[in-house]
Symmetry: C2
Subunit: 228 residues, 2 copies
DNA sequence: TATGGTATAATTGTATACAATGGTCACTGT
DNA sequence: ACAGTGACCATTGTATACAATTATACCATA
């Protein structure tokens, strides 16, 4: 019996795609300050690729809403305003509400995966209450699992675009995030209970509310950020 | 008094952006058959630009979900399955529901604009009942006006991505669209009445349902399309 | 005939060269 | 001193050249 040809499953990537991925990582992890300018030549030399690939990457990232290319001038990291935070979180809530409804209606709740994310959140908070990075990852993982379980690939695509922006915003306000085991775990456990026991409409409402409830704290923090 | 400097307002575009725009037009108007392959060199020569710009355009269009680049092989127009239609319309419904709720809650219903779109729909159907192109444009215009009026620019961005895909799908099934003045105008008038008189929740529900109701007919038609 | 391998063509991927644009800054004239 | 001008520099925009990969056609062989 021949070995499975893995090459079919490993998606081929061009240097342009790979560059986009690397820069995207830097953006969502807050390594580039919002509003700062990226030079094509500099990124190219740092990554050891040609400017052509970097330009392709920038074009992709602009389509994803992570950078803005000022034609004939420069491209800069998008700087999220409190308004952006509100709008993005509203949109996210709508999508997650939709997916929650589907997931409950079609009995596709990914219980094990959600539990694993909850455990991850708990572990991240307990192991290092100061460093919120692990928390952010697992929290987003929880929601991603839900969206993914809905089976709506287009919803997942759009949610992923929002995730990158949310991730970037959260990493900006990491220090101000007041996450305690009780509140966060409590909130997510409540969500899980609604998913298990509630109607599709209950689930939609719950997820929608959950997303909206975070808007205030992020927006307020960004307010200060932008004043600086 | 000096003339207003228009150059500030006309957004600068690169050839890559412009190429993306042109190809996008062709896709959403159904000039390229779904699944057909686009050659970089051919597009470049037709438009009289270099392959570099075409590649940038393809990268953008892939990020928008309109083409798929098969690395080292070719890039092809995405072919929507009935499942895609369902997923896209579900997502669209969720976003429009959100925007309808906002618009009603914040008393920002763009009445004149919506009325103008309704008139446009009516005119398009009456003037040429066979050619549905005008109808599609004005129908989408109605919904775009609503999303736009919500003031949520991110919702508008994502909705626009969906619009392109929906536009492409509708132009595929134009002949099968059975739109009569009574049904279409009636449905949209009902929406308008709910927006004017109903609660934000009523509006959300109405818009959400409206979008979902069209899924069936599009999906069924695409089923046949894909069999061919 | 079917299979498989090789040379060749066609196409995409990447790098580089050159053009064009915008900004900086010294210089000039009032 | 200050506004305006122009040369220069840095950066982006575009085209072309070349490398790498994939597809095709043909021939040899079983």
């Amino acid at each position: 019996m021949p070995l499975i040809e893995m090459s079919q499953f490993i998606e081929a990537r061009t240097l342009g795609d790979e560059t986009a991925r690397l820069v995207r990582e830097h953006i969502v992890y807050g390594n580039y300050a919002p509003g700062s300018r990226l030079s094509e030549a500099e990124v190219a030399s740092v990554l050891g690729v040609s400017r052509t690939c970097v330009r392709e990457a920038f074009a992709i990232l602009e389509a994803e809403g992570l950078v803005r290319r000022m034609r004939n001038r420069y491209t800069q990291i998008v700087q999220f305003t409190p308004r952006d935070a509100r709008e993005v979180m509203q949109l996210r809530s709508a999508i997650e509400g939709l997916c929650a409804r589907i997931v409950v209606a079609e009995h596709r709740i990914p219980l094990e995966e959600l539990e694993r994310c909850l455990a991850g959140i708990e572990r991240a908070i307990l192991s290092n209450p100061v460093d919120r990075r692990g928390y952010v990852e697992h929290d987003l993982g929880f929601h991603r699992a839900l969206v993914n379980a809905s089976g709506n690939t287009h919803a997942l695509r759009h949610w992923s675009l929002l995730e990158a922006q949310i991730h970037a915003m959260l990493f900006l306000v990491l220090e101000d995030l007041d996450v305690t085991v009780e509140s966060t775990i409590g909130l997510h456990r409540a969500l899980l209970e609604t998913l298990r026991g509630g109607s599709p409409e209950d689930a939609e409402q719950a997820l929608s509310q959950h997303g909206l409830s975070v808007i205030h704290c992020i927006a307020k923090r960004l307010e200060k950020e932008n004043v600086l």
